[in-house]
Symmetry: C2
Subunit: 515 residues, 2 copies
């Protein structure tokens, strides 16, 4: 069968991913190592993610701010003292001027900074510094702040959207009077992420708590949402941290309580990033390219006029434009329908496949016969094929237009249902020993090669070992390229024996290969 | 008379500006030299600026993208070869890791970058590199791209919003087949800025062409919008550049034309930044603080409950919340009305003055008497004072609610009219010699001190000298702290003698002190 991509998921999943990113015109590598160029179609998806998530962040009482790109080295040094396992791969600014010396443009030695500046890998310290100034009394709490920003973490191996040196994200930072309030915030934002991911991205996730060895450095508790990609790997799609009083201590974030005493604040942070786009691609893409959930499709209905350089072309174009105008007047998911007439000067067959690869939810093709018959012929990207052929639908124009909001909702629901069935059907239980686990997953391939058989995840009971014992578990898993993902929030009342220690289990945890 | 700020515009304009930025809770300096923290109220204004301008940028056919934060030094070096007057004050990244050496965290010498990276001061070169890859044929033109991003230019003297090392902006970059199309784009975006500035920011501007000595390095033509601040100085609020084929030559941006030949693209760029917020403050602020045009006020109607720790408080709060809900259901300037009940645990008198200083367009105070009478008592921030007293308005509740969209439109129009009268009334004509110009403006004060008398701008004929002669003119003006702003687009048919050379004039140009 002829497919729109030159590699299939089954053949080579990592190569398929790259092909989708490229052929759907989402992003490309840049001449700057590890940094990506996000192209209009990819950035359009990000803008819609921002719009939907930002509304949720504001509706839960958070204000957006903007903090400096740079963090003084001394802030980072102070944090490093307080936090074990602190990553040090960061972009360091050391000079503030270039100079032509012997014909070569270079950092001007006379413009060396007294203190180097770090390009923010995250803004905990610079925002903590503001919190320390802003918070005086219990009346200032809770302080609920969010920021949309670019951050940089030097990464040796990068993959577009999934792991890049620079990426875009939102980072929420909040301060509270006590543990209870801060923990409630942590869980509230985890739930915002879960609901957002499932409703808007149509990407089902498991929400749960990360094991100790996977916690954010400095956090008391880290929670995550984990999504299952089509190769069975887990993608950590968002995290929410209860930071206890660690950052407050390091940065002296205190408030005067109602009794007049001075108390440490309890803080949280939480974030999602452009990585979500990678998750969407690997959740919904197929061998013809991307399939976008309508809620985040920059164009939900694309209209391709079938032109033949003949007089009737004008009529066809008028028909297309009128159709687009009517659609734009309708509303779907709370916003006007996003329709486009593709007037580019290329063949209409080429246009069709461009939009298939980009994953536009509904593709309409208008020829003279449609105009004459007052009808609309269209494809649904979520249900493109009828055997080897493309499945085409036809409807009277008025009926089609009136039905578009419902059609988009149906496509959104269908994509979610398909992914949900995959997630639910591929979390294996009943594996009780490490040997059985190793057998189940089989040997680990190289990350960049075609993976082995699809295995999904394992959900097993464990005794929640700590310290060295946990580290030993993590190392045994690592040899199989497996990791502990999270302990789902919904836990049973009783547990089997621990898959690692044979002791009585106290919790169920997800085990998987991961991105 | 008691004022809400502790310094007036007349006393000391620069200090007044700082007081507004601080007391309106817009922004503050950060521990990172020259970088600002934009606080919720200030960032809320920026989000509304983005929303309105982004719609205009998309409606004129541009797509948003995202390009890397870093630019390889070699790109900058290549540009520097092609462009005279190229600024070299930039943040330079030289290392990608920190290391603890002798107990001190510092750049790891073994992690020195082979090629330093520059934090983008603007993205011409990195976007030009993408254009060079993306553009193959005339079918790919025009290519119309925009980016919202942070940029960094090392500045020695900074002032919040007006000049900071890091700032937020949008930068449009486009490529076209010929001069005509590129120039049409340049003028179209200048007009978008003018219309946006006047309609949304209520900030009247003069649109015109910059003289040669004020052109963007590498541009054939630079156009600007210039706004008049309340101290009479000009603020360049946005620029639009026709770049000819300079950048295309430097970066090899070529296309195959319809005849099959290879031609250079003509490119443009245009941008506005968080500087606009400084312009809004200095256009509309008064001695009680900021006055925000409703179109960009994060809260358009703020409702302050007058609570007395008595049982009737509950009723007052209910009344306030119901009022806010009703207002949120209405629409102003195409978006839902933004109403807020200020429930903070501080005295209501303090709240009133907080919102006065922040410039909320309408401030409602609700006490038990209002609840009993079913009425609303409110202040208009654009017309706050009746002599020494605050001017209070009252209306039956339903009437007030129904009238809010019109009231907000009226406030927007009133702020524009006030600023427009100031601009129109303070462009002095009829000054024909340099001596008369010097007399008119009088001696120049220090930038950071209280200025001299308000002088506004001068519009004079000039012979448009070039090269050394123009440089001499610029230097004479500089001694008086004056600059050539722009030659307004609307020019008369005939001109007086040149104010600088005494030769016949060929154009009228604006002369002013400036930010």
């Amino acid at each position: 069968m002829q497919r729109a991509l030159d590699v299939t998921r089954a053949d080579n999943f990592p190569e398929w991913y790259q092909a989708v990113v490229r052929d759907a015109d989402m992003a490309e590598t840049s001449p700057v190592r590890g940094c990506m160029v996000i192209k209009p179609w990819g950035y359009g998806v990000w803008e819609l993610i921002q719009q939907s998530l930002d509304r949720r962040i504001k509706d839960t009482g958070h204000d957006n701010c903007y903090f400096p790109l740079f963090v003084p080295l001394s802030f980072i040094a102070k944090e490093a003292e307080h936090v074990e396992g602190f990553a040090k791969e960061m972009a360091v600014v050391t000079h503030h001027r270039l100079k032509l010396i012997d014909g070569v443009l270079q950092p001007d030695p006379s413009a060396k900074l007294e203190e180097p500046l770090i390009v923010r890998p995250t803004s905990e310290t610079i925002i903590g510094d503001a919190f320390q100034r802003w918070i005086k009394s219990y009346r200032d709490l809770p302080l609920l702040i969010n920021q949309w920003a670019n951050v940089v973490r030097w990464e040796m191996r990068t993959r577009l959207f999934l792991r890049t040196a620079e990426f875009l994200w939102q980072e929420g930072h909040t301060a509270h009077a006590d543990r209870e309030d801060a923990m409630a915030e942590t869980m509230k934002m985890l739930e915002v992420y879960r609901e957002f991911s499932e409703t808007v991205l149509a990407m089902p996730v498991m929400a749960g708590e990360k094991p100790d060895n996977e916690r954010f450095p400095g956090a008391d508790n880290t929670f995550s949402i984990e999504a299952m990609m089509q190769d069975g790997k887990a993608l950590q799609a968002g995290t929410s941290h209860y930071l206890g009083t660690h950052f407050a201590e390091a940065q002296n974030i205190r408030y005067q309580d109602q009794a007049g005493g001075l108390s440490l604040c309890h803080t949280t942070s939480w974030g999602v990033s452009t990585r979500l786009i990678g998750g969407v691609i690997m959740t919904h893409g197929d061998d013809d390219g991307l399939r976008l959930p309508p809620a985040i499709a920059p164009r939900q209905v694309v209209i391709v006029p079938m032109l033949r350089d003949k007089p009737e072309d004008a009529e066809v174009l008028d028909y297309c434009e009128a159709l687009a105008r009517e659609l734009t007047g309708l509303s779907a998911f709370g916003y006007p329908v996003r329709a486009l007439v593709d007037r580019k000067a290329i063949r209409s067959g080429e246009k069709r496949w461009n939009w298939v690869r980009r994953g536009a939810p509904v593709i309409v093709e208008v020829g003279p016969r449609d105009v004459a018959g007052g009808q609309v012929t269209f494809m649904r990207r979520d249900d493109l094929r009828d055997g080897d052929k493309v499945r085409s639908h036809a409807a009277p124009r008025a009926e089609f237009v009136a039905g578009v909001p419902a059609l988009l909702a149906e496509i959104q629901a269908a994509l979610f249902a398909e992914a949900k069935a995959r997630l639910d059907g591929n979390i294996r239980t009943g594996i009780n020993t490490f040997e059985a686990l190793a057998d189940y997953f089989g040997p680990a391939g190289d990350d960049d090669e075609a993976g082995g058989a699809f295995r999904g995840w394992v959900r097993a009971s464990w005794a929640r070992p700590e310290g060295d014992e946990l580290e030993a578990v993590a190392n045994r898993l690592k040899a199989l390229k497996l990791t502990l993902r999270n302990a789902p929030l919904d836990q049973p009342k009783s547990f089997g024996t621990c898959i690692f220690t044979g002791r009585p289990g106290v919790q169920e945890i997800l085990i998987a290969r991961s991105y």
